[in-house]
Amino acid sequence: MEPAISCRGLRKHYPDVKAVDGLDLSVARGECFGLLGPNGAGKTTTIEILEGLTTPDGGAVEILGLNWKDDEREIRERIGISLQETQLADKLTVLETLRLFRSFYRKGPSPEELLRDLTLEEKRDSRVGKLSGGQKQRLAVACALVGKPDILFLDEPTTGLDPQSRLQLWEVVTRFRKRGGTVLLTTHYMDEAERLCDRIGIVDHGHLIALGTPKELIGRLDAPNVIEFTSEPAVDEGAFSDIPGFHAATLRANAWHLQVDSLADAVPPLIVGVEKRGSRLITLTTHAATLEDLFVSLTGRELRDA
């Protein structure tokens, strides 16, 4: 069977920026694929080209074996979309909004069923303008699910949401996948990508700079653990050479990030080494390596502020 989503050589150049610059991607049916990258990396432009909302300058897109030029209506019937920051009509109620969106599609669950699935039953007669951020986002996803789509596109579905609302949305995505649905989502949250996605593509400056399962990607880091510390005065890189299992160090915003094999082996000699050089430790934290660290090692920048 052809992939759910595939594109080759995707390009979109704006006067001041190459938003997408030669991007290839293939998402299998039933897969959950995450596009991960900082703001301005080209994630939204990419997903909107795949959604048929932006015309690329070059490259080919196929959705479920169909293309946007000839089969737009057919594709629209079979995909569900949640845009970044859409505001639905404030003056309508939740149920009215769902009924409206339901009327655009040939088939799909009833608005009442959707309310139940997205735990919005209590809010069915509330105005959209009165909903919380999490409820609004669940309604946006409900509007994406209203046509019983084969593919769900979610552009930063949980940005700005509280932890509980994020969990609720993750559950909705997980349930959609259990029914065989394909998901393409963008995010700049590592935990979201690690938790939800089968495969991840890391995007920077309109290119895919890494592609694989979350485990594979983290495995590409030379070492599984990271130590972050600051000291007064700062020490130079020479201080790390005799730490066992040390791989690499990067200095960002006055903090050293050290990649090491084992925290137990590396932390005591680090502390001793810093003191021996007449410096005092100010902060020290450690964590298991994440996609964030991968992004940093790939680009030298952090995801949030890149």
């Binding site: 959604e51 048929g52 909302l53 209506r73 629209r76 019937e77 979309i81 845009l83 920051e85 859409t86 505001q87 639905l88 009509a89 003056k91 309508l92 009215e96 009924r99 409206l100 969106f101 339901r102 009327s103 655009f104 599609y105 040939r106 009833s110 608005p111 009442e112 509007c143 046509g147």
Partner: protein, 344 residues
């Protein structure tokens, strides 16, 4: 579960609901035109002809003359010193100065109200001096419906209302939806784009019936303004007017991205029509060369057609040119508007 209604119906219902829930909009559509009719209707109520101010030079006969002139319904006499009276006449504060017995009438014959004052004053003084009329005439005053200012005003306000609610009702909503990316969200569904625009038009028609009905009924009961011609033709004019302005609203809103920009553009289109298209006064007062352009404006066509049917009771033949004008505006603005429409 209720069954799923067609998208066009659902879109129209949603538009109507959204509008009804917008309290301010309700006031501007229904309350404001009624208030305007009341205010202007009373301000220009026909209270009979105004009295012309005339002066009497003080002297032994002045008191008697004052009494005689005051008995005329057309005059408003007052006694002045000789120099003062002349000065007031020169300034145009009074139209006629009566001096001495037998009186000398001082006035400017080039001014119509001065000539009227001269005739009225002479009449009153002659009668007071004992002149008998050869016969007693009876006055019949013309106060027919259709000839008063309020009769002129109501069709103009109707036209103005059709324009502003039509253009705002569509322009504001479309731009607002574009700004909030709601338009983009809608085109991301299989919704037919034509359904979206047609639903705006249909919801306008729902309100059209209510807003025209309210204004016509109010004008009828409060000022006895009637529709002398055909109701069917009247409805057809309102309908075509509403389509033309809905089209114009769509055109104005077709590419604009912000509310500020669309407000400016709306005013750019509407203000000239408010002024030129004969809402409050006849556009015949504009220079002759401007008249063909003014007649080409959709609001002029609506106002002229409404006045022809409401006040003069004219038929289809008389308003056909205006209906054709409105049809052209409708077709052109929808075709161009849809062609350049920006969904995102």
């Amino acid at each position: 579960m209720r069954e799923i209604r067609p998208a066009l119906i659902e879109l129209t219902i949603v538009r109507v609901k959204e509008f009804v829930r917008e309290t301010e909009a309700l006031f501007w559509v229904f309350g404001f035109p009624l208030l305007m009719t009341v205010a202007l209707g009373f301000a220009f109520r026909d209270s009979g002809p105004e009295r012309v101010p005339v002066g009497i030079v003080e002297g032994p006969a002045a008191a008697g003359q004052l009494k005689a002139l005051a008995s005329s319904p057309a005059l408003q006499p007052r006694i002045y010193g000789a120099d003062e009276g002349r000065a007031e006449l020169r300034r145009g504060k009074i139209s006629l100065l009566v001096a001495g017995t037998p009186p000398v009438y001082r006035f400017d014959p080039a001014r119509p109200e001065a000539r009227t004052a001269r005739l009225e004053a002479d009449d009153a003084l002659q009668i007071a001096a004992g002149r008998r009329s050869a016969f007693e005439p009876r006055d019949e005053r013309v106060e027919e419906q259709g000839a008063r200012y309020v009769d002129f005003l109501v069709p103009g306000l109707l036209g103005m209302n059709l324009m502003s609610t039509g253009m705002w009702g569509i322009g504001f909503v479309v731009v607002n939806a574009r700004m909030k990316k709601l338009l983009k969200r809608l085109v991301a569904t299989p919704m037919k784009k034509s359904d979206f625009l047609v639903s705006h038009f249909l919801s306008r028609i729902v309100f059209l019936i209510l807003e025209v009905g309210a204004l016509v009924a109010f004008a009828w009961f409060a000022f006895d303004v009637r529709i002398h011609g055909s109701w069917l033709l009247f409805s057809a004019i309102c309908f075509l007017g509403a389509t033309a302005f809905a089209g114009l609203g769509t055109l104005v809103a077709s590419r604009v991205r912000t509310i500020e920009a669309v407000s400016g553009l709306m005013n750019l289109v509407m203000v000239p029509m408010w002024i030129c298209s004969g809402v409050f006064f006849s556009y015949e007062r504009f220079p002759r060369a401007a008249i063909p352009f003014i007649r080409a404006l959709p609001l002029t066509a609506v106002n002229d057609a409404l006045r022809a049917v409401m006040n003069d009771g004219l038929g289809l033949a008389a308003v056909a040119p205006m209906l054709i004008n409105l049809s052209i505006w409708t077709v052109v603005s929808y075709v161009v508007g849809l062609k350049i429409f920006r969904w995102q």
